[in-house]
């Protein structure tokens, strides 16, 4: 991806494909393998390859973008026997994980989406629950700093 490409200023419209690609990109390899244990016939357009991606962030999610760090990403592109093209970008170095994500992306554009969607929804719910639990644990140890009245004002 072109690193000079800026993030859009406004939130883009709802995009289901973007959502499932995002979900798979952040998923764990063994969890995604439970969604689709056996891959259907497919050909590789781009064999799985590992590289670095510069992750950008914004101060308070609205400020100017800045580079946080590079992260390791594996990508893969496949074409199903019906001709549907799928792309998979996942965190980490697992080639089979990237390949499975690409196949699922292609299948989600075909009739197989009906069976895959509930499983991806379940995976999303698990991920959301894990995030919430972690945030709750962190919140319990949160310390609030505030300034008491200081001597010179009295």
């Amino acid at each position: 991806m072109d690193p000079r490409r800026k993030m859009p200023a406004k939130a883009p419209p709802p995009n289901e494909r973007r959502d499932w690609l995002s979900l798979m990109a952040r998923s764990a390899p063994d969890r995604l393998a439970r969604v689709l244990p056996d891959l259907p016939d497919h050909d590789l357009l781009r064999a799985p390859e590992t590289g670095n991606v510069m992750v950008q962030g914004r101060v308070s999610a609205t400020g100017a973008p800045f580079n946080i760090a590079e992260m390791t990403v594996t990508r893969c592109s496949v074409v199903l026997s019906c001709g549907t093209v799928g792309h998979g970008h996942v965190q980490g170095r697992s080639r089979s994980h990237a390949r499975r994500a690409a196949v699922i992306d292609a299948l989600m554009q075909t009739g197989a989406a009906a069976t895959l969607t509930p499983q991806l929804r379940a995976m999303e719910a698990e991920a959301q629950a894990a995030t919430t639990e972690r945030a709750a644990k962190a919140a319990a140890t949160r310390v609030e700093f505030f300034t008491l009245q200081r001597g010179e004002d009295t």
Partner: protein, 185 residues
């Protein structure tokens, strides 16, 4: 199958192999080499497609001559190069007639002659007969079937500025850098 198939199966190895052939061809102007590592969609020849994948990346603006719209997606997927007009192109790809006139392309500046375009030309025939080539990298002389003589002579007159040519036909390539002197046979 889709129009995206036919890229390098093993990019690291095949890029190195292909680049070696391309360098050798550019170092020995007018010699014909086999180079067919990629299988691009029609109408692009295998050699032209391979050269495009070897040279094009997101930092090299490419001008795609008319008649090659079918390979836009293929180039975008495998090379990721921006497609631009001829005046801003670092690379140009197309048939000889579609690339003319050549004065649309950047020839570099006197102090930066490297800021020029490299033309990947698809030809119908490429044989070791025809125009006489002499110059750096050529012992005595070589012959090469060129589509025309005058544009290459005019290009040589611009030296050290000018365009470099990678002539392709099917699976074969021959290079014609700006330093080569072209004469009638």
């Amino acid at each position: 199958m889709t129009a995206l198939t036919g890229g390098f199966a093993d990019p690291a190895i095949q890029s190195a192999q292909g680049f070696r052939v391309l360098m050798q061809a550019m170092a020995r102007p007018g010699t014909i080499h086999d180079l067919a590592l990629a299988v691009p969609p029609a109408p692009l020849g295998r050699a032209a497609g391979t050269v495009a994948l070897l040279l094009a990346d997101p930092t090299t603006p490419l001008h795609l001559a008319q008649g090659h719209d079918a390979i836009r997606d293929w180039l975008a997927f495998h090379a990721g190069c921006p497609l631009v007009g001829p005046d801003r192109a670092a690379l140009a790809l197309g048939r000889w007639d579609d690339l003319l006139p050549l004065d649309r392309f950047a020839i570099g500046l006197p102090d930066y002659p490297d800021r020029s375009a490299t033309l990947i030309v698809a030809l119908d025939r490429l044989e070791a007969q025809g125009a006489r080539l002499t110059g750096p990298g050529i012992r005595d002389q070589v012959s090469l079937s060129l589509p025309d003589i005058a544009p290459f002579r005019a290009n040589r007159a611009l030296f050290p500025m000018g365009l470099d040519f990678i002539l392709t036909c099917g699976d074969r390539i021959a290079c014609l850098p700006r330093s080569t002197v072209v004469e009638d046979a």
